[in-house]
């Protein structure tokens, strides 16, 4: 383990001492997206042009020992977001809104989110695609202009947001995938944009190869990254793996948000990626610590509240 890795690990251990119910606050200042865990003083001090929140993996309906009440933890997270000052411009939900693609689960999530009064952009996780190839999810959560596969883009304060779907029709033995139609759409969507425009990609499964043994990656993600290469600031926000993880590669910063429902083990540290059970009283502490250092070593690991895309 390098000195750099050790240092990052220690700092991350301090900064990640919040439990999975935390949201991640993103601000864009001078074209550089920055992140900070909600509740930190730094979040309030940022003089931001744009502030938004990433929420992920609410898994409404989950009630197993790792968290018997995923609705309650989701609600407490949303309460904190609703109380933020300044108010975030919007929220991005990076998938797995529901646990079992049940209408009641989506309804619960929707009503809790609507109660915040904050506009929210959604993409599906594979748990939202269990019925009719995700059609019920898209009917309820995809915006008007979304393509038939559920992907879309929008602009906010000069930042271009690209919302992708990599959880449709997963192939046996494979990982997440975008597919040719979506890749062609991405190319077209980015065409003609200034390389200096900040890009934020929102996607459920990691766009890079986090841990192929557990399917934590996107098999054609490299093609999407090639299309993003010319941009000076690219931030990829994903969920799916229920732990904080960051990597910076060239101009691309990858950030995995925590779940609001239950934690999952760091890559390769458990027999399977199933929900991590911890004592309720220790959940907060252990989740923070458990997410620390596994990806460190090979690539530079960015700290969650540090400027990205350097």
């Amino acid at each position: 383990m390098s000195d750099e890795t050790k240092g990052l690990t220690r700092r991350r251990a301090l900064e990640c001492g919040l439990w999975a119910g935390a949201g991640v606050l993103w601000t864009v200042s001078g074209g550089v997206p920055r992140s900070a865990l909600l509740g930190t003083a730094e979040a309030a001090e940022m003089g931001a042009d744009l502030t938004f929140v990433q929420i992920s993996d609410s898994h409404i309906g989950f009630n197993k020992p790792a968290n018997p009440d995923a609705t309650a933890t989701f609600k407490s997270l949303l309460d904190r977001i609703a109380a933020m000052n300044p108010r975030p411009a919007f929220m991005l939900h990076t998938g797995d809104v529901s646990h079992l693609s049940r209408a009641s689960e989506w309804d619960t999530a929707r009503s809790l989110i609507e109660a915040t009064g904050i506009e929210t952009h959604f993409i599906p996780g594979e748990h939202d695609m269990l019925v009719d190839n995700g059609e019920p999810f898209f009917a309820s959560f995809a915006p008007q202009g979304a393509k038939p596969g559920g992907w879309y883009s929008f602009d906010q304060k000069g930042v271009h947001f690209v919302a992708l779907v990599n959880v449709a029709q997963l192939k046996p033995g494979g990982e997440g995938s975008l597919g040719a139609a979506q890749l062609a759409w991405i190319e077209n969507d980015l065409k003609g944009r200034s390389a200096s425009q900040p890009i934020v990609v929102t996607i459920h499964m990691p766009l890079w190869q986090v841990y192929p043994q557990w399917g934590w990656g996107t098999e054609d993600g490299a093609q999407a990254l090639t299309l993003l290469k010319r941009f000076g600031s690219v931030t990829v926000l994903n969920g799916h793996i229920h732990q904080l993880l960051q990597k910076v590669e060239g101009n691309v910063a990858f950030h995995t948000g925590m779940s609001t429902a239950f934690p999952q083990p760091a890559p390769g540290t458990a027999p399977s990626p199933g929900p991590m059970k911890v004592e309720p009283g220790r959940l907060r502490e252990l989740l923070g610590v458990s997410t620390v250092s596994h990806v460190a070593g090979k690539k530079r690991l960015a700290i969650i509240d540090r400027p990205l895309g350097a």
């Binding site: 079992l100 594979e126 494979g174 399977s272 199933g274 929900p275």
Partner: protein, 105 residues
């Protein structure tokens, strides 16, 4: 007549095991693995999949074995009866790394 009835009864008792359906084959899902991962069964066997994980899984046939379970929550079961000999591969559509095989003879 009495003797004939007795013989028929004996015959029925002897034949019963032969005409009964083969015993079910269970495949459990533990820690994101179908277990046994590959299993050989006689034609007509019912295979019962049981999810023992704290996360839902599905059982979806690949190609020829065109079966698809609903989402299986913890302890949910799904069964398929395999009448024709062949090799049936399947996977979990939520966690596509999870695959398994049923060989029917």
């Amino acid at each position: 007549m009495r003797r004939l009835k007795f013989l028929l009864l004996v015959a029925a008792m002897l034949l019963t095991p032969l005409i009964a359906r083969a015993a079910d084959q269970t495949v459990t899902i533990d820690n994101f693995v179908f277990t046994p991962n590959s299993v050989t069964v006689a034609a007509g066997t019912r295979v019962v999949f049981i999810n023992r994980d704290d996360i839902p899984h599905t059982v979806v046939g690949i190609g020829a074995g065109n079966f698809k379970s609903p989402p299986l929550d913890t302890d949910d079961k799904f069964s398929v009866t395999f009448d024709k000999p062949g090799t049936y591969k399947y996977f979990c559509s939520l966690h596509p790394m999870m695959t398994g095989t049923i060989v029917v003879r």
